[in-house]
Symmetry: C2
Subunit: 330 residues, 2 copies
Amino acid sequence: MNPNGNPYPALSVPAREIPVPSSVSEQAQAILALGPLSPPVEYPPLDDAASWRGMIAAQAQAIREMTGGSGSTAGVRVEETSVDGACVYVITPDGIGPEDRRVYLEIHGGAFIHEGGEVCRQRGIDNARRIGARSWAVDYRMPPDHPYPTPLDDCVAAYRALLEQHRPEEIIIGGPSAGANLAASTILRARAEGLPLPAAAVLHSPVSDLTGSGDTRRTNLGLDNILTGQSMAPILLYAAGHDLRDPYLSPVFADFRPGFPPTLLLSGTRDLLLSDTVRLHRALRAAGVAAELHVWEAAGHGGFLGRAPEDEERTTEIKRFIDKHWAALR
Amino acid sequence: MNPNGNPYPALSVPAREIPVPSSVSEQAQAILALGPLSPPVEYPPLDDAASWRGMIAAQAQAIREMTGGSGSTAGVRVEETSVDGACVYVITPDGIGPEDRRVYLEIHGGAFIHEGGEVCRQRGIDNARRIGARSWAVDYRMPPDHPYPTPLDDCVAAYRALLEQHRPEEIIIGGPSAGANLAASTILRARAEGLPLPAAAVLHSPVSDLTGSGDTRRTNLGLDNILTGQSMAPILLYAAGHDLRDPYLSPVFADFRPGFPPTLLLSGTRDLLLSDTVRLHRALRAAGVAAELHVWEAAGHGGFLGRAPEDEERTTEIKRFIDKHWAALR
């Protein structure tokens, strides 16, 4: 038996030297040339909440130092509101008036443990500027203090609150990585609770399978410059003993029929979560969902740090997709 | 300088044991468990035409022995015709009458050197059965005796002959691997010659970049169970000294604007030509073409030998796509 539970022997792949490809932009080449951008993280034991809190705080501090503290709010207005115990940043780009009914519910990533608070706010601002629409960025509560189902509950509560002010066809839900997992699960939960569903979903490199069975978690290990380790610790901390195959935890196992909205999925050929992305795409397609897949050459988890033309291309695809699904409102 | 012509050092990826993934069907697991299905091929020197002919004949003989000679024609009628020196098999599934105007121009694969003659005929029959439509399978002439541009000329001639009997919106062009390269180039050449363009294109794991710069040619080497080597020899034999970046040889460098038809692209996460596929998808999208990408988990070049549910899923996507683009005819 191998770790995947099947009786087959493993495939031996020899050590290799992988040159920086010339098939990406010069900017992307320069980023790939840096190699892995961080060492694989050593996570604390699951029951050592204090160490997890310390690690999470240190990471937040590192991001703060890297970005020079609180980012700019130029070009947007930010309000804070609270929904059922979770903070939501309501971000309105300049020039967007109350008659513009479009709203994007942004669910941040960060392996279910990072990128809350200030980072959530700043990424929400960046995203709202990029897509040119009002955004709600949910600062959902997270482990170790708030494992599953609290993070998902917070996202569902934010969606429910949005529905008090908006028709469902005005709402698009999206997020990266763990945020894409929560975005998909929020829609599944909304459906189960009888809520009307949003116009569309945007899933960047979703974590769709918390059992970690995706093949590229292994084949792309060492090639993805962003996700440099394959530890399941943050996932196990989030799941807190719940069945990892539960569709609210691993949406790749969900039944998307009926009603799941049109979905955009984005990944890269070096993404550790390419398998999670293409498998979710297949599951959506099997259910007849209008799901679109886009994969960028040699891109790791999340692309090229926003510094390459490929990242602009990604934004262009997202804008085209959301504009199409918001078009009926105009 | 590395082989890709950029100044960066290579990324060292250590040797690894890759288990058979549990994220694919049992049938696909059993095929992946076989490991590489053939050793990398040793090709003759480019100027040794006799050895190439011998190698190509031996491969044809091996396929003949494997499939037990001439395959079944049950359920179809096959006629042979000749277009400008190349044979075309016209395959009509039972029940398709003259009032059914749909026709699929199938361009076979085989690294620009293999799968002509009897194999072309049999694959054409299999494909016509699968899609349930009349097909023209072009037995284009090949190297070493007929290098570029003859193979492409033959495909363009077949398309031109089809246009004498069909309106362009009745025609869909497709093929796998080298055949997908020729399918894309046939459409580009037809456009340049002022011909009307077909309704759609179906490109399975296209060879889109004959310079071989695609990243997965290296990252998926040893993982793809079908394409087990990365020799460029057959490509160089085909190109016969022409510029490998010429868009008729490497359609990824083409300008697809205006008029290139809607295109379906299919690949797998272990496909050596995943990069060729996603880069062509991006080039088409950048030109505003309605191009759709589908990628199967852990699939190598061409899928799972037609023996897994994933292969049926691929057929389902193809049928949906072509039926949609033929729908106006009904």
